[in-house]
Symmetry: C2
Subunit: 145 residues, 2 copies
């Protein structure tokens, strides 16, 4: 894993010796987000309505360190959402009534997987149909992708 990771590995071993700090220091300059912070990198997906959770209709990436980026349509807003929610994704779902929806059962599942501030995270939520989903995520930059 090239110089970059080798250094990270050495640094991690060193920090383990001196007390187990979470952050890993790297002095090499690459395109990768190595630095004085814990990594944040996520994949967000949404399934086809009524489809299985094994396939994704859409999938986007999001990284928040060193800067907001990825194929998410609003990386900066999504990262701000994440910081505000402290990784509690349920808090991003709106409970306001929104538009009227039918009671059709054609479930849509939204997932968020990856690493948030160094900690592995995995979240999913299933909505009865895409109308219900639209109501719940309308106010969220993160989940509105």
């Amino acid at each position: 894993m090239r110089t970059n990771l080798r250094f990270a590995v050495t640094a991690a071993a060193a920090t383990a010796l001196i007390g187990g700090a979470l952050a890993v220091t790297s002095v090499t300059a690459t395109a990768a987000p190595a630095g004085l912070y814990a990594p944040s990198a996520l994949v967000l997906t949404v399934t086809h309505p009524g489809g299985t959770t094994d396939t994704a209709a859409r999938a986007v990436t999001l990284s928040c360190m060193p800067g907001a980026g990825g194929t998410h349509p609003d990386p900066a807003g999504a990262c701000a959402d994440l910081r505000a929610a402290g990784g509690q994704f349920d808090s991003l779902l709106s409970t306001a009534p929104g538009q009227a929806c039918t009671r059709l059962w054609s479930p849509v599942t939204v997932t968020v997987d990856g690493v948030w501030q160094g900690t592995r995270t995995s979240w999913k939520h299933t909505f009865a149909n895409s109308c219900e989903m639209n109501n719940a995520v309308e106010q969220s930059s993160l989940l509105n992708f």
Copy 2:
């Protein structure tokens, strides 16, 4: 989820009716990777040596459609690797001898999670120590991050 996803949802329902094609068509132009193809978006992580799999020393994002991108240090090479491997990540691990390693047990786990060509994927591999890992991933653009 804005016009983009609403259209994808409609298109998905339509394709389900005509035989279940994997690709979802979208005619809106946004920063998101909507298009004539199944999405590919992944998060790759590596743990601290000897650490738990709940925390990540490094984490990078990778997307391969519409173009190669993400915080991975070599997105184009990584996407080429993925296509060559057909999503079979084990085939990317080198079995060549490489450098001599100690038998120290300080396990390092590499994970790949997300969506590859529309299908959810989750892979992990644990190496006895970072020297063993370096030998195994030396030839891989995807796993050498």
